[in-house]
């Protein structure tokens, strides 16, 4: 294969599904909101929800996904030992 990009070949016969494009947009928006919120320092999921205006369950899903792909890391539980606090992981150079 090497140089021929097969993606292009497939693109001739197949369009990216609308749903996938929309989903990507939505996820990126939410990701951005969470990143902005976390830029203020350590935060728990309810904190982020409050600040970003997202539903807490959405924050859980999106942020845990960010955690899975190494963008966020947990620090430890809060004072009440109820919620974990999270922070942004410094990007690898």
């Amino acid at each position: 294969m090497g140089t021929t990009k097969t993606t292009k070949i497939l693109r001739e016969t197949r369009k990216p599904p609308e749903k996938a494009l929309e989903n990507r947009k939505l996820f990126t928006e939410r990701q951005k909101l969470i990143t902005n919120s976390l830029a203020n320092g350590l935060q728990s999921i309810p904190d982020i929800a409050k600040e970003s205006g997202l539903e807490p369950e959405v924050v859980t899903y999106v942020m845990m996904s960010m955690r899975k792909y190494g963008e966020v890391t947990e620090i430890g539980p809060d004072e009440m030992n109820e919620y974990f606090l999270y922070q942004l992981k410094p990007k690898n150079p």
Partner: protein, 442 residues
């Protein structure tokens, strides 16, 4: 890779045979049956619909009643299967038809769905996954966290090869560019293949009950009502979160309720039989939760604790002595409070009166249902099912492995609910019977 066999050839021509046995389903039952048959020297093909073999078991946290980690038991078996010289495995492949020939062999049509990845080239390095911009719910984590559109299903998947979810792919081409071994190829297509085998072992396993049917429990509406399989993932070493957390708001739960018999022993959902494993997996999860969250209370709402197997009773006693709270009751309904906590309503047997109890997480111990799709694959012959759509055991009390079709054998939960040890034994039985059948055939 495989030669295509002419369909209408008759006569006992051994050279036509591609495999001695086709094992449908690469879960623990299929693997065990394949291993036992391969050890005797037969050539086996395992066809697995999913991306990895290992079935449900490979996704579990630990297993009752020994609390061995499930991966520690599954992965060696899975890699032994994958590595056995007499066993071939096709993943992401479905059996489309099985027809008996005049010479008693079976013509098989399979559909190999493409991964858009050249299996021989992929090294499982995950670089493609890093660059993929798409994030969609990860079915291997029961949608609790996202995965990419190009992904390896989970770290101990067998084979550990990437797969492209074309329905969610935006064809950006980043993965193809990134792949160091040029394994990604979007020109690949699904292919039908024809094979001839002598015998078939059915190991297609079970389905889990979908609790949205029981709207009283609020699954789907209330985020803090989850299924036991979702909890299983949260407790597994390759878990979606950093700890056991409430899906709604990431709180560490400290008062967890288990509701047993959800979708089992319930005529209203058409499944009056007992799923046989929920009592024990709930007992197991309760013990694991007490380990993971030392401050938490766990309450199991049960009808009868079916701790029947070897070491099960002792395991249940162990849970009791660890402080797991068992309440005899069937919860009638769940109501959500503003803070995400849940109110359970049930009849308290000690008084006969209605009680309400608040918990911050509710786990539904969903039952096992039959996976009856396999029935339609058989052409010309009828694979008989029981009233609950499990494969009927033609002669349960003298030969539990045989089905209504000669040369087709059943292994594991395809015939009814079973725990892992019983599944493995029944797979052994299917292997014994298939061996006997093949000996007789030759």
């Amino acid at each position: 890779m495989k030669k295509i066999v002419e369909q209408n050839q008759a006569g006992m021509d051994e050279s036509l045979i591609d495999y001695d046995v086709l094992v449908i389903g690469g879960g623990i039952a299929g693997d065990e049956a394949a291993l036992k048959l391969a050890d005797v020297g037969y050539k086996i093909l395992i066809v697995e619909k999913d991306l990895s073999i290992g079935g449900r078991m490979i996704l579990l946290s630990k297993v009752f009643p020994t609390l061995d980690c499930s991966a520690c038991i599954t992965t060696p078996k899975v890699s032994e299967t994958a590595r056995h010289r007499n066993i071939s495995i096709f993943t992401k492949t479905e059996v489309k038809s099985i027809t008996r020939r005049q010479d008693n062999f079976f013509d098989i049509t399979i559909l190999k769905r493409t991964r858009y990845v050249l299996e021989t080239l992929c090294t499982g390095c995950k670089e493609c996954e890093d660059v993929c911009p798409i994030l969609i719910p990860d079915e291997y984590q029961y949608n609790q966290v996202a995965r990419k559109a190009v992904f390896i299903p989970f770290s101990i998947a067998q084979p550990r090869i990437a797969n492209i979810d074309i329905d969610n792919c935006i064809l950006c081409g980043l993965c193809e560019k990134k792949c160091p071994s040029d394994a990604i190829d979007f020109t690949l297509v699904d292919t039908y293949e024809h094979l001839v085998v002598k015998s078939v072992v059915l190991a297609t396993g079970f389905r889990l009950f979908n609790p949205t049917v029981l709207s009283r429990y609020g699954y789907g509406r209330y985020k803090n009502v989850m299924t036991a399989m979702e909890m299983e993932r949260q407790l597994a070493p390759t878990r979606p979160y950093n700890s056991v957390l409430r899906p709604k708001d990431g709180k560490m739960p400290d008062n967890i309720a288990y509701l047993l018999c959800v979708g089992s022993r319930d005529q209203t959902v058409g499944n009056p039989i007992c799923s046989q494993i929920c009592c024990m997996y709930s007992t197991k999860q309760a013990q694991l939760l007490l380990g993971a969250l030392p401050m938490a209370d766990v309450t199991v709402y049960y009808l009868h604790v079916r701790a029947f197997g070897k070491g099960f009773c002792e395991f249940y006693n162990q849970a009791l002595s660890m402080g797991v709270n068992y309440i005899k009751a069937k919860v009638a309904s769940v109501r959500e409070k503003e803070n995400g906590n849940l109110i359970l309503r049930y009849e308290d047997f000690s008084t006969g009166q209605v009680e309400e109890q608040e918990h911050d997480l509710v786990v539904l111990a969903t039952g096992i249902l039959a996976n009856a799709e396999i029935e339609s694959v058989f052409k010309g012959e009828k694979l008989e099912l029981d009233p609950y759509e499990f494969v009927r055991q033609k002669d349960m009390l003298t030969n539990p492995a045989i089905t209504s079709i000669s040369g087709v054998f059943a292994a594991g939960t395809v015939t009814g609910p079973m725990d892992i040890p019983d599944t493995i034994l029944s797979a052994g039985a299917a292997a014994a019977e298939a061996t006997a059948y093949l000996k007789k055939l030759s």
